[in-house]
Protein backbone atom coordinates (compact mmCIF):
# COMPACT_ATOMS: atom_id res chain seq x y z
CA UNK A 1 0.00 0.00 0.00
CA UNK A 2 1.37 3.34 -1.01
CA UNK A 3 -0.27 6.62 -0.19
CA UNK A 4 2.59 8.84 -1.26
CA UNK A 5 0.58 10.30 -4.13
CA UNK A 6 -2.58 10.46 -2.06
CA UNK A 7 -4.23 13.86 -2.14
CA UNK A 8 -7.70 15.22 -1.97
CA UNK A 9 -10.27 13.21 -3.91
CA UNK A 10 -13.81 14.38 -4.60
CA UNK A 11 -16.45 12.00 -5.89
CA UNK A 12 -19.21 13.93 -7.66
CA UNK A 13 -18.52 16.84 -9.98
CA UNK A 14 -21.68 18.89 -9.40
CA UNK A 15 -21.94 22.16 -7.54
CA UNK A 16 -20.64 20.90 -4.20
CA UNK A 17 -17.79 18.85 -5.67
CA UNK A 18 -16.60 21.48 -8.12
CA UNK A 19 -16.74 24.19 -5.47
CA UNK A 20 -14.80 22.03 -3.04
CA UNK A 21 -12.07 21.46 -5.63
CA UNK A 22 -11.67 25.18 -6.19
CA UNK A 23 -11.90 25.96 -2.48
CA UNK A 24 -9.03 23.56 -1.71
CA UNK A 25 -6.83 25.74 -3.92
CA UNK A 26 -8.25 29.01 -2.61
CA UNK A 27 -7.40 27.87 0.90
CA UNK A 28 -3.82 27.16 -0.08
CA UNK A 29 -3.72 23.41 -0.61
CA UNK A 30 -0.89 22.52 -2.99
CA UNK A 31 -1.18 18.72 -3.24
CA UNK A 32 -3.10 16.62 -5.73
CA UNK A 33 -6.79 17.41 -6.26
CA UNK A 34 -8.89 14.89 -8.19
CA UNK A 35 -12.52 15.51 -9.15
CA UNK A 36 -14.41 12.43 -10.31
CA UNK A 37 -17.73 12.76 -12.16
CA UNK A 38 -19.92 10.23 -13.90
CA UNK A 39 -21.07 12.64 -16.59
CA UNK A 40 -18.83 13.39 -19.55
CA UNK A 41 -19.42 17.13 -19.26
CA UNK A 42 -17.28 19.63 -17.45
CA UNK A 43 -18.89 20.56 -14.11
CA UNK A 44 -22.00 22.67 -14.82
CA UNK A 45 -24.73 24.48 -12.95
CA UNK A 46 -28.00 22.63 -12.53
CA UNK A 47 -30.48 25.41 -11.65
CA UNK A 48 -30.92 26.49 -15.32
CA UNK A 49 -31.91 22.96 -16.38
CA UNK A 50 -35.58 23.40 -15.44
CA UNK A 51 -35.72 27.03 -16.52
CA UNK A 52 -33.42 28.72 -19.07
CA UNK A 53 -32.36 25.45 -20.71
CA UNK A 54 -36.04 24.72 -21.38
CA UNK A 55 -37.16 28.16 -22.52
CA UNK A 56 -34.13 29.61 -24.35
CA UNK A 57 -34.77 30.21 -28.04
CA UNK A 58 -31.33 28.98 -29.01
CA UNK A 59 -30.20 25.41 -28.33
CA UNK A 60 -28.96 25.61 -24.75
CA UNK A 61 -25.41 25.03 -23.67
CA UNK A 62 -24.48 23.95 -20.18
CA UNK A 63 -23.41 26.76 -17.83
CA UNK A 64 -19.99 25.50 -16.83
CA UNK A 65 -18.78 26.05 -13.27
CA UNK A 66 -15.23 25.16 -14.27
CA UNK A 67 -13.81 25.17 -17.78
CA UNK A 68 -10.64 23.45 -19.00
CA UNK A 69 -8.65 26.60 -18.46
CA UNK A 70 -9.59 26.94 -14.80
CA UNK A 71 -9.15 23.23 -14.17
CA UNK A 72 -5.65 23.41 -15.63
CA UNK A 73 -4.73 26.68 -13.95
CA UNK A 74 -5.78 25.24 -10.58
CA UNK A 75 -4.24 21.82 -11.23
CA UNK A 76 -7.53 20.02 -10.69
CA UNK A 77 -7.53 16.56 -12.22
CA UNK A 78 -10.99 16.00 -13.65
CA UNK A 79 -11.86 12.36 -14.33
CA UNK A 80 -15.16 12.36 -16.23
CA UNK A 81 -17.50 9.67 -17.46
CA UNK A 82 -16.62 7.20 -14.71
CA UNK A 83 -18.32 6.06 -11.55
CA UNK A 84 -16.71 5.45 -8.21
CA UNK A 85 -17.87 2.00 -7.16
CA UNK A 86 -16.29 1.38 -3.77
CA UNK A 87 -13.99 2.76 -1.13
CA UNK A 88 -11.14 0.85 0.51
CA UNK A 89 -11.11 2.70 3.81
CA UNK A 90 -8.07 0.91 5.17
CA UNK A 91 -6.02 1.26 2.00
CA UNK A 92 -7.36 4.79 1.43
CA UNK A 93 -8.30 4.25 -2.20
CA UNK A 94 -11.41 4.76 -4.33
CA UNK A 95 -12.20 2.11 -6.93
CA UNK A 96 -13.51 3.40 -10.27
CA UNK A 97 -15.53 1.44 -12.79
CA UNK A 98 -12.75 1.77 -15.37
CA UNK A 99 -10.52 -0.45 -13.19
CA UNK A 100 -8.58 2.53 -11.96
CA UNK A 101 -7.91 2.95 -8.27
CA UNK A 102 -7.33 6.45 -6.88
CA UNK A 103 -5.48 6.94 -3.59
CA UNK A 104 -6.77 9.59 -1.19
CA UNK A 105 -5.65 11.31 1.97
CA UNK A 106 -9.13 12.82 2.40
CA UNK A 107 -12.18 11.88 0.38
CA UNK A 108 -15.28 14.01 -0.20
CA UNK A 109 -18.54 12.36 -1.24
CA UNK A 110 -20.60 14.90 -3.19
CA UNK A 111 -22.80 12.60 -5.22
CA UNK A 112 -26.02 14.59 -4.99
CA UNK A 113 -29.47 13.11 -5.34
CA UNK A 114 -31.43 11.35 -8.05
CA UNK A 115 -35.11 11.80 -8.90
CA UNK A 116 -37.52 9.51 -7.08
CA UNK A 117 -39.35 7.31 -9.56
CA UNK A 118 -43.12 7.02 -9.55
CA UNK A 119 -44.26 3.51 -8.73
CA UNK A 120 -47.66 2.90 -10.32
CA UNK A 121 -48.64 0.61 -13.19
CA UNK A 122 -47.51 2.05 -16.52
CA UNK A 123 -44.91 4.35 -15.00
CA UNK A 124 -42.17 2.61 -16.94
CA UNK A 125 -43.35 4.16 -20.22
CA UNK A 126 -40.72 5.98 -22.28
CA UNK A 127 -43.08 8.97 -22.18
CA UNK A 128 -42.50 9.38 -18.45
CA UNK A 129 -39.55 11.72 -18.05
CA UNK A 130 -37.39 12.79 -15.12
CA UNK A 131 -34.96 15.68 -14.80
CA UNK A 132 -31.59 15.32 -13.24
CA UNK A 133 -28.83 16.18 -15.68
CA UNK A 134 -28.15 18.20 -18.78
CA UNK A 135 -28.92 15.29 -21.10
CA UNK A 136 -32.31 14.88 -19.41
CA UNK A 137 -32.95 18.60 -19.95
CA UNK A 138 -32.13 18.35 -23.66
CA UNK A 139 -34.39 15.32 -24.06
CA UNK A 140 -37.20 17.07 -22.21
CA UNK A 141 -36.79 20.27 -24.17
CA UNK A 142 -37.05 18.30 -27.42
CA UNK A 143 -40.38 16.87 -26.27
CA UNK A 144 -41.89 20.16 -25.10
CA UNK A 145 -43.04 21.42 -28.49
CA UNK A 146 -45.97 23.81 -28.95
CA UNK A 147 -49.29 22.01 -28.66
CA UNK A 148 -47.90 19.07 -26.71
CA UNK A 149 -50.19 17.95 -23.88
CA UNK A 150 -48.10 17.58 -20.76
CA UNK A 151 -48.98 16.22 -17.34
CA UNK A 152 -46.57 17.13 -14.56
CA UNK A 153 -46.72 14.86 -11.55
CA UNK A 154 -45.72 16.66 -8.38
CA UNK A 155 -46.40 20.25 -7.32
CA UNK A 156 -42.99 20.86 -5.77
CA UNK A 157 -40.32 23.21 -7.06
CA UNK A 158 -39.06 21.07 -9.95
CA UNK A 159 -42.54 20.22 -11.18
CA UNK A 160 -43.73 23.81 -10.99
CA UNK A 161 -40.62 25.21 -12.68
CA UNK A 162 -40.99 22.73 -15.52
CA UNK A 163 -44.71 23.55 -15.75
CA UNK A 164 -43.87 27.25 -16.09
CA UNK A 165 -41.22 26.49 -18.72
CA UNK A 166 -43.54 24.17 -20.66
CA UNK A 167 -46.41 26.65 -20.78
CA UNK A 168 -43.94 29.29 -22.00
CA UNK A 169 -43.02 26.87 -24.81
CA UNK A 170 -46.65 26.59 -25.86
CA UNK A 171 -47.53 23.24 -24.30
CA UNK A 172 -50.79 22.62 -22.49
CA UNK A 173 -49.93 21.75 -18.90
CA UNK A 174 -51.71 20.02 -16.03
CA UNK A 175 -49.95 19.66 -12.69
CA UNK A 176 -51.16 16.90 -10.36
CA UNK A 177 -50.24 17.14 -6.68
CA UNK A 178 -51.34 14.50 -4.21
CA UNK A 179 -51.13 16.81 -1.17
CA UNK A 180 -53.92 19.33 -0.44
CA UNK A 181 -51.76 22.16 -1.80
CA UNK A 182 -48.62 22.80 -3.83
CA UNK A 183 -45.17 23.33 -2.28
CA UNK A 184 -45.90 21.33 0.87
CA UNK A 185 -44.26 22.51 4.04
CA UNK A 186 -41.52 24.49 2.28
CA UNK A 187 -43.52 27.71 2.33
CA UNK A 188 -46.61 29.00 4.13
CA UNK A 189 -49.99 28.35 2.53
CA UNK A 190 -50.40 32.03 1.67
CA UNK A 191 -47.17 32.05 -0.38
CA UNK A 192 -48.17 28.80 -2.08
CA UNK A 193 -51.53 30.39 -2.94
CA UNK A 194 -49.79 33.30 -4.68
CA UNK A 195 -47.66 30.85 -6.68
CA UNK A 196 -50.74 28.81 -7.57
CA UNK A 197 -52.49 31.96 -8.74
CA UNK A 198 -49.60 32.85 -11.08
CA UNK A 199 -49.70 29.36 -12.58
CA UNK A 200 -53.46 29.56 -13.09
CA UNK A 201 -53.15 32.95 -14.78
CA UNK A 202 -50.42 31.59 -17.07
CA UNK A 203 -52.79 28.81 -18.12
CA UNK A 204 -51.45 25.91 -16.05
CA UNK A 205 -54.17 23.65 -14.63
CA UNK A 206 -53.45 22.63 -11.04
CA UNK A 207 -55.10 19.54 -9.58
CA UNK A 208 -54.40 19.07 -5.88
CA UNK A 209 -55.40 16.55 -3.28
CA UNK A 210 -55.70 13.65 -5.71
CA UNK A 211 -53.42 10.64 -6.06
CA UNK A 212 -52.61 8.60 -9.16
CA UNK A 213 -53.56 5.02 -9.77
CA UNK A 214 -52.03 4.21 -13.15
CA UNK A 215 -50.63 5.39 -16.42
CA UNK A 216 -52.29 3.74 -19.40
CA UNK A 217 -51.43 3.75 -23.06
CA UNK A 218 -54.05 4.33 -25.76
CA UNK A 219 -52.38 4.30 -29.17
CA UNK A 220 -49.87 7.14 -29.01
CA UNK A 221 -51.69 8.81 -26.10
CA UNK A 222 -50.76 8.37 -22.49
CA UNK A 223 -53.55 8.52 -19.94
CA UNK A 224 -52.86 9.51 -16.35
CA UNK A 225 -55.58 7.90 -14.26
CA UNK A 226 -56.37 9.73 -11.03
CA UNK A 227 -57.69 8.19 -7.84
CA UNK A 228 -61.00 10.02 -8.28
CA UNK A 229 -61.45 8.37 -11.67
CA UNK A 230 -60.44 11.33 -13.84
CA UNK A 231 -58.39 10.41 -16.90
CA UNK A 232 -55.88 12.96 -18.19
CA UNK A 233 -54.96 12.31 -21.81
CA UNK A 234 -51.52 13.57 -22.72
CA UNK A 235 -48.44 13.14 -24.90
CA UNK A 236 -45.79 13.27 -22.19
CA UNK A 237 -45.52 13.00 -18.43
CA UNK A 238 -42.85 14.64 -16.32
CA UNK A 239 -42.45 13.47 -12.76
CA UNK A 240 -40.98 15.69 -10.06
CA UNK A 241 -41.83 13.76 -6.92
CA UNK A 242 -38.77 14.31 -4.80
CA UNK A 243 -35.21 13.11 -4.78
CA UNK A 244 -33.28 10.31 -3.17
CA UNK A 245 -29.77 10.99 -1.91
CA UNK A 246 -27.05 9.08 -3.75
CA UNK A 247 -25.55 7.17 -0.86
CA UNK A 248 -24.54 3.90 -2.51
CA UNK A 249 -20.84 4.51 -2.18
CA UNK A 250 -21.16 5.39 1.50
CA UNK A 251 -23.36 2.35 2.15
CA UNK A 252 -20.90 -0.02 0.52
CA UNK A 253 -18.13 1.54 2.60
CA UNK A 254 -20.11 0.89 5.78
CA UNK A 255 -20.67 4.54 6.64
CA UNK A 256 -23.86 5.54 8.46
CA UNK A 257 -26.61 6.52 6.07
CA UNK A 258 -29.93 7.89 7.32
CA UNK A 259 -31.71 10.17 4.86
CA UNK A 260 -28.29 10.96 3.42
CA UNK A 261 -24.71 10.26 4.37
CA UNK A 262 -24.57 11.14 8.04
CA UNK A 263 -21.95 13.77 8.84
CA UNK A 264 -21.06 15.84 11.89
CA UNK A 265 -21.04 19.62 12.10
CA UNK A 266 -17.71 19.75 10.24
CA UNK A 267 -19.27 17.60 7.46
CA UNK A 268 -17.11 14.61 8.41
CA UNK A 269 -18.62 11.09 8.28
CA UNK A 270 -17.97 8.24 10.78
CA UNK A 271 -14.59 7.93 9.07
CA UNK A 272 -12.38 10.93 9.90
CA UNK A 273 -10.89 10.88 6.38
CA UNK A 274 -14.21 10.83 4.53
CA UNK A 275 -16.53 13.83 4.29
CA UNK A 276 -19.82 14.48 2.53
CA UNK A 277 -21.42 17.67 1.22
CA UNK A 278 -24.44 18.86 -0.73
CA UNK A 279 -27.70 17.07 -1.51
CA UNK A 280 -26.36 13.67 -0.46
CA UNK A 281 -25.55 14.52 3.15
CA UNK A 282 -27.49 14.79 6.37
CA UNK A 283 -25.97 17.29 8.79
CA UNK A 284 -26.84 18.87 12.13
CA UNK A 285 -27.58 22.60 11.95
CA UNK A 286 -26.37 24.64 14.93
CA UNK A 287 -28.80 27.50 14.30
CA UNK A 288 -31.75 25.12 14.56
CA UNK A 289 -30.66 23.43 17.78
CA UNK A 290 -28.77 20.72 15.96
CA UNK A 291 -31.79 19.62 13.90
CA UNK A 292 -30.58 17.22 11.24
CA UNK A 293 -31.17 18.52 7.73
CA UNK A 294 -30.64 17.30 4.22
CA UNK A 295 -31.02 20.15 1.77
CA UNK A 296 -31.53 19.99 -1.97
CA UNK A 297 -30.42 23.47 -2.80
CA UNK A 298 -27.85 25.12 -5.03
CA UNK A 299 -26.46 27.44 -2.43
CA UNK A 300 -26.21 24.81 0.25
CA UNK A 301 -24.23 22.64 -2.19
CA UNK A 302 -21.90 25.50 -2.92
CA UNK A 303 -21.42 26.55 0.70
CA UNK A 304 -20.98 23.00 1.94
CA UNK A 305 -18.49 22.26 -0.84
CA UNK A 306 -16.49 25.22 0.35
CA UNK A 307 -16.84 24.27 3.99
CA UNK A 308 -15.91 20.63 3.36
CA UNK A 309 -12.71 21.78 1.65
CA UNK A 310 -11.78 23.73 4.75
CA UNK A 311 -12.58 20.75 6.97
CA UNK A 312 -10.43 18.54 4.72
CA UNK A 313 -7.58 20.94 5.41
CA UNK A 314 -8.06 20.70 9.16
CA UNK A 315 -10.48 23.49 10.06
CA UNK A 316 -12.73 22.54 12.97
CA UNK A 317 -15.61 24.95 12.40
CA UNK A 318 -19.25 23.92 12.28
CA UNK A 319 -21.18 24.52 9.09
CA UNK A 320 -23.83 27.03 10.10
CA UNK A 321 -24.93 28.89 6.97
CA UNK A 322 -28.63 29.65 6.98
CA UNK A 323 -30.48 27.60 4.35
CA UNK A 324 -31.37 29.76 1.36
CA UNK A 325 -33.42 28.73 -1.60
CA UNK A 326 -34.95 30.29 -4.67
CA UNK A 327 -37.26 29.25 -7.47
CA UNK A 328 -38.19 31.14 -10.63
CA UNK A 329 -41.61 30.48 -12.12
CA UNK A 330 -43.14 32.63 -14.85
CA UNK A 331 -41.93 36.17 -14.06
CA UNK A 332 -41.93 35.55 -10.31
CA UNK A 333 -39.16 34.72 -7.91
CA UNK A 334 -39.78 32.79 -4.74
CA UNK A 335 -37.08 33.02 -2.10
CA UNK A 336 -36.82 31.28 1.24
CA UNK A 337 -34.31 31.85 4.02
CA UNK A 338 -34.07 29.62 7.06
CA UNK A 339 -36.72 27.03 7.81
CA UNK A 340 -40.28 28.40 7.76
CA UNK A 341 -41.61 25.14 9.22
CA UNK A 342 -39.59 25.73 12.41
CA UNK A 343 -41.71 28.73 13.30
CA UNK A 344 -44.60 28.87 15.76
CA UNK A 345 -45.72 32.39 14.82
CA UNK A 346 -45.96 34.06 11.41
CA UNK A 347 -45.77 37.77 10.64
CA UNK A 348 -46.55 39.20 7.22
CA UNK A 349 -45.02 42.28 5.59
CA UNK A 350 -46.24 43.80 2.35
CA UNK A 351 -43.33 44.40 -0.01
CA UNK A 352 -45.34 46.64 -2.33
CA UNK A 353 -47.74 43.95 -3.53
CA UNK A 354 -45.40 41.03 -2.86
CA UNK A 355 -46.07 39.17 0.39
CA UNK A 356 -43.22 38.34 2.74
CA UNK A 357 -43.68 36.00 5.69
CA UNK A 358 -41.47 35.90 8.76
CA UNK A 359 -41.50 32.85 10.98
CA UNK A 360 -40.59 33.15 14.63
CA UNK A 361 -39.96 30.44 17.17
CA UNK A 362 -40.32 31.57 20.76
CA UNK A 363 -39.54 35.09 19.54
CA UNK A 364 -36.47 34.20 17.48
CA UNK A 365 -36.55 34.60 13.70
CA UNK A 366 -36.09 31.16 12.11
CA UNK A 367 -37.47 31.54 8.59
CA UNK A 368 -38.70 33.93 5.93
CA UNK A 369 -40.28 33.52 2.54
CA UNK A 370 -41.51 35.88 -0.15
CA UNK A 371 -42.75 35.73 -3.71
CA UNK A 372 -42.80 38.47 -6.31
CA UNK A 373 -40.55 40.25 -8.80
CA UNK A 374 -36.90 39.72 -7.80
CA UNK A 375 -36.47 43.45 -7.24
CA UNK A 376 -39.11 43.35 -4.50
CA UNK A 377 -38.13 40.21 -2.63
CA UNK A 378 -34.37 39.60 -2.88
CA UNK A 379 -33.00 42.29 -0.59
CA UNK A 380 -35.39 41.71 2.23
CA UNK A 381 -34.97 37.94 2.11
CA UNK A 382 -31.19 38.48 2.23
CA UNK A 383 -31.61 40.71 5.27
CA UNK A 384 -33.92 38.15 6.87
CA UNK A 385 -31.22 35.55 6.29
CA UNK A 386 -28.73 37.75 8.11
CA UNK A 387 -31.18 38.26 10.98
CA UNK A 388 -31.64 34.48 11.23
CA UNK A 389 -27.87 33.92 11.10
CA UNK A 390 -27.45 36.35 14.00
CA UNK A 391 -30.22 34.59 15.94
CA UNK A 392 -32.05 37.89 16.15
CA UNK A 393 -35.30 38.41 18.03
CA UNK A 394 -36.84 41.24 16.05
CA UNK A 395 -39.99 42.96 17.26
CA UNK A 396 -42.90 41.46 15.24
CA UNK A 397 -44.52 44.87 14.99
CA UNK A 398 -41.43 46.25 13.26
CA UNK A 399 -41.18 43.18 11.01
CA UNK A 400 -44.74 43.78 9.85
CA UNK A 401 -44.20 47.48 9.16
CA UNK A 402 -42.96 48.03 5.59
CA UNK A 403 -41.74 51.50 6.45
CA UNK A 404 -39.18 50.01 8.86
CA UNK A 405 -36.03 49.01 7.01
CA UNK A 406 -35.01 45.46 7.86
CA UNK A 407 -31.41 46.62 7.78
CA UNK A 408 -32.14 48.75 10.84
CA UNK A 409 -33.14 45.61 12.77
CA UNK A 410 -29.75 43.93 12.33
CA UNK A 411 -27.96 43.58 15.63
CA UNK A 412 -24.46 45.01 15.46
CA UNK A 413 -23.04 42.06 17.38
CA UNK A 414 -24.34 38.49 17.22
CA UNK A 415 -26.96 37.95 19.91
CA UNK A 416 -26.18 35.14 22.30
CA UNK A 417 -28.10 31.97 21.54
Amino acid sequence: MSTQDAGMVIVGAGEAGARAAMALREHGYTGTVTLIGEERHLPYERPPLSKAAMTSVAEPTAAFILDEERLTANRIGHISGVRATSIDRIGHTVQLDNDRRVPYAKLLIATGARPRKIAIPGAGSENVLYLRNFSDALAMRARLQPGIRLVVIGGGFIGLEIAASAIARGCSVIVVEMAPRILGRAVPAEIAAVVADHHARAGVTLIVGVGLTAIERDGTDEIVVLADGRRLVCDAIIAGVGAIPECGLAEIAGLTVENGVRVNAQLVTDDPDILAAGDCCSFPHPIFDGRRLRLEAWRNAQDQGNHAARSMLGAMEAYDRVPWFWSDQHDQTLQIAGLPDEGDTAVVRDLGGAPMYFHLKAGRLVGASAVGPIGKVARDIRLAEMLIQKRARPDPVLLADPTVKLKSLLPTEPVAA
Partner: protein, 104 residues
Protein backbone atom coordinates in the same frame (compact mmCIF):
# COMPACT_ATOMS: atom_id res chain seq x y z
CA UNK B 1 -12.06 61.47 -23.28
CA UNK B 2 -14.57 62.18 -20.59
CA UNK B 3 -18.30 62.15 -21.01
CA UNK B 4 -19.92 63.27 -17.75
CA UNK B 5 -23.58 62.40 -17.60
CA UNK B 6 -25.98 63.86 -15.03
CA UNK B 7 -27.39 60.72 -13.40
CA UNK B 8 -29.38 61.76 -10.34
CA UNK B 9 -29.52 63.83 -7.20
CA UNK B 10 -27.46 62.52 -4.26
CA UNK B 11 -30.60 61.90 -2.23
CA UNK B 12 -32.09 59.75 -4.96
CA UNK B 13 -29.91 57.01 -3.46
CA UNK B 14 -30.31 56.09 0.19
CA UNK B 15 -27.22 55.72 2.32
CA UNK B 16 -25.58 52.31 1.81
CA UNK B 17 -27.79 51.59 -1.14
CA UNK B 18 -27.90 51.27 -4.92
CA UNK B 19 -30.10 52.37 -7.81
CA UNK B 20 -30.24 51.49 -11.49
CA UNK B 21 -29.22 54.13 -14.02
CA UNK B 22 -29.75 53.51 -17.73
CA UNK B 23 -28.25 55.74 -20.38
CA UNK B 24 -28.40 54.86 -24.05
CA UNK B 25 -27.23 51.29 -24.35
CA UNK B 26 -25.52 51.09 -20.97
CA UNK B 27 -27.15 50.07 -17.72
CA UNK B 28 -25.30 50.99 -14.55
CA UNK B 29 -25.60 50.48 -10.84
CA UNK B 30 -25.00 53.66 -8.84
CA UNK B 31 -24.00 53.28 -5.21
CA UNK B 32 -23.97 55.55 -2.23
CA UNK B 33 -21.92 54.29 0.70
CA UNK B 34 -22.45 55.11 4.36
CA UNK B 35 -19.63 57.66 4.24
CA UNK B 36 -21.47 59.47 1.40
CA UNK B 37 -19.06 58.42 -1.31
CA UNK B 38 -20.64 57.55 -4.68
CA UNK B 39 -19.58 54.84 -7.10
CA UNK B 40 -20.77 53.38 -10.39
CA UNK B 41 -20.34 49.95 -11.96
CA UNK B 42 -21.84 48.00 -14.81
CA UNK B 43 -25.37 47.12 -13.76
CA UNK B 44 -25.46 43.45 -14.56
CA UNK B 45 -23.79 40.76 -12.50
CA UNK B 46 -21.02 39.03 -14.46
CA UNK B 47 -22.38 35.63 -13.46
CA UNK B 48 -25.92 35.37 -14.81
CA UNK B 49 -26.89 38.83 -16.00
CA UNK B 50 -29.07 39.77 -13.04
CA UNK B 51 -29.27 43.50 -12.31
CA UNK B 52 -27.32 44.46 -9.24
CA UNK B 53 -29.63 47.36 -8.38
CA UNK B 54 -31.91 44.75 -6.79
CA UNK B 55 -29.05 43.60 -4.59
CA UNK B 56 -27.96 44.50 -1.11
CA UNK B 57 -25.14 46.94 -0.29
CA UNK B 58 -23.24 46.16 2.90
CA UNK B 59 -20.27 48.44 3.52
CA UNK B 60 -18.57 48.67 0.13
CA UNK B 61 -19.84 45.29 -1.08
CA UNK B 62 -22.76 44.78 -3.46
CA UNK B 63 -24.30 41.35 -3.40
CA UNK B 64 -26.18 40.01 -6.41
CA UNK B 65 -29.86 39.35 -5.55
CA UNK B 66 -29.87 35.99 -7.32
CA UNK B 67 -26.84 34.00 -6.28
CA UNK B 68 -25.10 36.26 -3.79
CA UNK B 69 -22.12 36.91 -6.04
CA UNK B 70 -20.22 39.76 -4.36
CA UNK B 71 -18.29 42.69 -5.73
CA UNK B 72 -16.33 45.56 -4.21
CA UNK B 73 -18.21 48.56 -5.62
CA UNK B 74 -15.19 50.83 -5.27
CA UNK B 75 -13.01 48.69 -7.56
CA UNK B 76 -15.43 46.30 -9.30
CA UNK B 77 -13.44 43.37 -7.95
CA UNK B 78 -15.27 40.01 -7.85
CA UNK B 79 -15.07 38.66 -4.30
CA UNK B 80 -15.34 34.92 -4.94
CA UNK B 81 -17.67 32.17 -6.15
CA UNK B 82 -19.95 32.16 -8.00
CA UNK B 83 -18.54 35.31 -9.55
CA UNK B 84 -15.04 35.37 -11.01
CA UNK B 85 -15.20 38.22 -13.55
CA UNK B 86 -14.76 41.76 -12.23
CA UNK B 87 -17.30 44.50 -12.87
CA UNK B 88 -16.37 47.50 -14.98
CA UNK B 89 -16.38 50.69 -12.91
CA UNK B 90 -17.01 54.28 -13.96
CA UNK B 91 -15.76 57.54 -12.42
CA UNK B 92 -18.36 59.44 -10.42
CA UNK B 93 -18.39 63.04 -9.14
CA UNK B 94 -20.88 65.09 -7.18
CA UNK B 95 -21.12 68.67 -8.39
CA UNK B 96 -23.70 71.41 -7.92
CA UNK B 97 -26.00 69.05 -6.09
CA UNK B 98 -26.00 66.38 -8.82
CA UNK B 99 -24.28 63.02 -9.26
CA UNK B 100 -22.38 62.69 -12.55
CA UNK B 101 -21.02 59.51 -14.13
CA UNK B 102 -18.23 59.50 -16.69
CA UNK B 103 -19.25 57.12 -19.44
CA UNK B 104 -16.01 57.81 -21.34
Amino acid sequence: MTNWIDACAPDDIDEEDVIRFDHGTVSLALYRLEDDRFFATDGFCTHEQVHLSNGLVMGKIIECPKHNGRFDVTTGEAKGAPVCVNLKTYPVKVESGRVFVDLG
